[in-house]
Symmetry: C2
Subunit: 268 residues, 2 copies
């Protein structure tokens, strides 16, 4: 499944992921008046951006907020992607993690019912809680490591011996949890020093990078700190700056170009 992402990166020469965080309150009124507002808006965003995009990442929270209607529209969005753009990698940003039988329920919802290629997961409950995801060799598990929010430091930066907690998690995922070679990590763009350290800890593992754009992370800093030795290994997400900006196509293209400007040197 990682191969699917890398093939798409090569095909469209892009490390860009668009976060389909289609908050109902922020989508244009013209969509709100239709039958399926979040789906119709997503379809428009996909039509506008798919040529320069390697992955889409809806955060499921914004669909759950609308109850069963939102869940239906997330499903419609996924059906549309599967039909029109089956080569684009899909990530459900869900940050799940629960005891085995419950995690099994989430895996069913996200991998089987919705048909995502990957899911974001929370490591706090330990390896057995993530087993129903990790053992799916046909899917990717993307584990929270050092997140992009300010409060990330509260818990993730606690010192465990000489390391910080997030470093312990990075090593555990790389050395113990990745037996099926289907793991990735979430590393916030807003902390490039930590990103550089994570790259040193996990080798070529692919990292999902939220936090550029509205949250303020710098693309140059991310690229310098995060690329692996093949000039890949990053999924760089932008959400609000594309979805709610003046021109989604233009902004997606601009971001791809800016990312690629900093990608070339590592390939030399």
């Amino acid at each position: 499944m990682l191969a699917k992402y890398n093939q798409r990166v090569d095909a469209v020469n892009s490390l860009l992921c668009v976060g389909l965080d289609s908050v109902f309150a922020r989508i244009p009124d013209s969509y709100k008046q239709g039958m399926f507002p979040q789906f119709a808006f997503n379809r428009w965003i996909i039509d506008q951006t798919h040529r320069v995009v390697s992955a889409y990442k809806p955060n499921i929270a914004f669909y759950e907020a609308r109850g069963e209607d939102g869940m239906r529209e997330l499903k419609m969005t996924m059906d549309y992607l599967h039909e029109r753009h089956p080569e684009i990698f899909t990530i459900c940003d869900a940050k799940r993690g629960d005891i085995d039988s419950s995690s099994m329920g989430y895996a069913e919802a996200i991998f089987d019912w919705l048909g995502f290629d990957a899911v974001t997961l929370n490591p706090y409950m330990g390896q057995d809680a993530l087993k129903p995801f990790l053992e799916r060799r046909d899917k990717c598990s993307i584990i929270l490591c050092r997140t992009s929010n300010k409060g990330a430091q509260d818990i993730q930066d606690l010192h465990v011996g000489k390391q910080r907690l997030w470093e312990v998690i990075a090593e555990k995922v790389a050395n113990e949890w990745n037996t099926n070679e289907n793991c990735m990590l979430v590393m916030g763009a807003t902390y490039p020093a930590e990103l550089k350290r994570a790259r040193a800890l996990v080798g070529d593992m692919t990292l999902l990078i939220p936090g550029i754009g509205t949250q303020g992370g710098s693309i140059q800093a991310v690229m310098e700190a995060g690329l692996n030795q093949h000039g890949q290994g990053l999924i760089i997400n932008a959400s609000r700056s594309i979805l709610f900006g003046a021109d989604p196509t233009k902004e997606a293209k601009r971001l791809r170009e800016e990312i690629n400007q900093h990608r070339a040197p590592n390939l030399l």
Copy 2:
């Protein structure tokens, strides 16, 4: 909202919570053939057990597993509880935690659309990630501390200075995150020594205790370790042993009695 739970405890003399973990594959065939299988099964369980129960706790994973249909039936279950038993405390076992705007989406779904009194939360992303829940004074935030699964030790038992990580979380919640006096902690029944330590760290705070019954936690050990000085402060959950046993009414009554046997001494 904590008052709602304590009033119900007094009214029915029970610390028992029933986990409405209505896994589709395990509900009787007679329900599976109806229009709303999970809802119809839940209604039956509620009718059978409400007289001896202070709280209900569906794990949302088992509803999401069935997509929009499952979400609709969870909503129907909540509507039924609100109409028939508005005095019973309701907990959405969801283990959420995400950056602010996403957590806001979950809070909307769980508190406003579904109408739960409380939600379980994951602390890994820090205080700001839980703010949309914590600042709801009309609702309770129940934060994962030391969970009941075997893998809990992987991360939660890591040493942070002289403490284990879960102890740091317990203190943070008690001393920093509980400014609205609406926080509780999840402490697994399968680790009574840890439960005793948690009680010492957090004073009279209410603790949600999963893991008796099928998971093997002992009620006696939980009661000896976990009661607060008022002979309360515990929400003791049983799911599968009630839902999928021979007689839900009898099992719920039996559990209430067994819990109460160990409750009396502390009140003397």
